[in-house]
């Protein structure tokens, strides 16, 4: 899952530790999230969206997802 967390975090001027503290998770969690190696559970995804004041889909984009509607 690709995401824009690193850009948004640095845009706020926050360190990874600061964001981790806000979210109530470990700093390693933020590192793994930003690297795209850890997909958050829904509660954490919603908190991220609230912290950055945007919809979840603006934060996360699934890889290789091409819906045929």
């Amino acid at each position: 899952m690709r995401n824009t967390l690193a850009e948004r975090r640095t845009g706020q001027g926050w360190s990874q530790a600061r964001l981790a503290d806000i979210l109530g998770v470990s700093r390693q969690t933020v590192i793994s999230l930003e690297k795209g190696r850890f997909d958050p559970a829904l509660p954490l995804a919603f908190r991220l969206a609230r912290v950055f004041d945007c919809p979840i889909e603006d934060l996360f984009t699934p890889e290789d997802w091409h819906p045929e509607i």
Binding site: S26, Q28, F38
Partner: protein, 152 residues
């Protein structure tokens, strides 16, 4: 964590309360658990001296049981640097994945060991087999967790 509490090496404390007091409930759980284990040993032991065996078992169980009480009551939410939502952290995911993989390894180990023992007709004491299995699964779980952490 409640804002009215402060973090210390010993756990969450209310203002003015000394940290080591937090050990009291952990020790209580430890004593209770060790007592139960000792009691079960006394009841079910075929030993000629069940009271002595129960006492030794309870005493040797006590440190682990106190650690268990501390882990249940104090550690999850209050030690220095603990996160508020460990269940949503990546470390929790690593542990979950390592545990599932170790469980699968355990099934394979038990099956292969049972098959080997049946085929070779080797007589092995049950306590040796169980202890070996416990050690192998513990090491398996630990190594898998470390690998996941290293590759994160």
């Amino acid at each position: 964590m409640n804002s009215s509490t402060t973090r210390s090496t010993w756990g969450a404390t209310k203002a003015g309360r000394r940290g080591p007091a937090l050990w009291a409930p952990a020790v209580a759980i430890g004593v209770l658990t060790a007592g139960v284990v000792g009691g079960l040993t006394y009841v079910f032991s075929p030993s000629q001296t069940p009271a002595l065996l129960a006492l030794v078992t309870a005493v040797t169980t006590l440190p682990v049981a106190v650690a268990l009480g501390w882990a249940i009551l104090v550690a999850p939410s209050s030690i220095t640097g603990a996160v508020e939502r460990p269940e949503e952290s990546v470390e929790s995911r690593w542990l979950e994945r390592a545990s599932v993989a170790a469980l699968m390894d355990g099934f394979a180990m038990i099956g292969l060991s049972a098959g080997a023992i049946v085929i070779t007709e080797v007589e092995v004491a049950a306590d040796v087999v169980l202890m070996a299995l416990w050690v192998l699964l513990s090491v398996d779980l630990g190594v898998r967790y470390l690998v996941l952490r290293r590759t994160a």
